[in-house]
């Protein structure tokens, strides 16, 4: 029987991570927003000052099984800062391929992120969910998450592209 391990991503995993990033964007119905390249993922995640950290869920074949290990999910996060609470983590992406859902892999990834958060002295971690993604919201709430948008009225805003360039005076 195959075994799932959650481990830190390596540079060589970037091709798989990009594949899963695209699958997640597709699931979120926001595919056209993915502009990242494998080179950027490698440079930004595995250089001297990484912009993100990534965990991958890898299926290790049982002894005797012919196929090699295979990456079926990931959790990508980075450190942020709360001026109220201090060190914090933002879980940017968490995704498990459809055929591997329902086995607790998502929970395992989240638990690993929780351990990382505690190891680094973080008092909390945050993530964003689409309001129609009931299955994800239920999972996070089961693990103790609270909906800050609903409870406190926080909205996510963004400056990008032309608007950001204008702000910078370019």
């Amino acid at each position: 029987m195959a075994f799932v391990q959650i481990r830190a991503a390596k540079q060589g995993d970037c091709g798989d991570i990009l594949r899963l990033i695209r699958e997640l964007a597709e699931y979120e119905k926001l595919s056209d927003q993915v502009k990242i390249s494998e080179e950027a993922l490698r440079a930004d995640g595995f250089g001297e000052n990484p912009f993100y950290h990534c965990l991958v869920a890898e299926i290790l074949p049982a002894p005797g099984e012919l196929q090699g290990p295979c990456i079926v999910g990931y959790g990508l996060y980075y450190f942020i800062y709360s001026t109220w609470k201090g060190r914090n983590i933002y879980l940017e992406d968490i995704y498990v391929m459809p055929e591997y859902r329902g086995q607790g892999i998502g929970s395992k990834i989240i638990k690993k992120v929780a351990e990382v958060a505690l190891d680094h002295g973080c008092s909390q971690f945050r993530l964003a969910v689409l309001e129609w993604n009931k299955r994800a919201m239920d999972l996070y709430k089961t693990l103790g998450a609270q909906d800050l948008t609903q409870a406190e009225g926080w909205r996510a805003f963004r400056f990008e592209g032309e608007a950001m360039r204008k702000l910078a005076g370019r």
């Binding site: 505690l118 964003a128 998450a145 800050l148 948008t149 009225g153 805003f157 963004r158 592209g161």
Partner: protein, 109 residues
């Protein structure tokens, strides 16, 4: 009105930063009771401009931040400058998991 300068903070500035963090928290919960003598002079715009320049210099493709839904002056300030409200437009909700639940998860086996 005296001239103002926007510059990177130094370690010595932390007590001022903490004072302002507390003022902002107070504003976010008791808006009408916090007066400010320094609004309306373009200081906020200048800070935002500085931040955008940092973003461009570091090859960032966007800036993300949170705004409270009742904070109309801030919402207008950002929207006038071309910001998108992703919660309204795409349906994103912010969730948090606090330390007590992180500890619970880490303790499970």
């Amino acid at each position: 009105m005296a001239k103002f300068v926007i510059r990177p903070a130094t370690a010595a500035g932390c007590s001022d930063i903490l004072r302002l963090i507390k003022e902002l928290a107070k504003y976010e919960y008791m808006e009408d009771q916090v007066m400010s003598d320094y609004r309306g002079f373009g200081i906020g715009s200048e800070i935002l401009k500085n931040l955008s320049q940092v973003a461009m210099k570091c090859r960032c493709s966007s800036m993300h931040f949170l705004v409270a839904e009742w904070n109309e002056p801030s919402i207008n300030f950002y929207k006038r400058r071309g910001a998108s409200d992703l919660s309204s437009e795409e349906g994103w909700r912010l969730f948090k998991i606090d330390k007590e639940y992180l500890l619970k998860m880490a303790a499970e086996e």
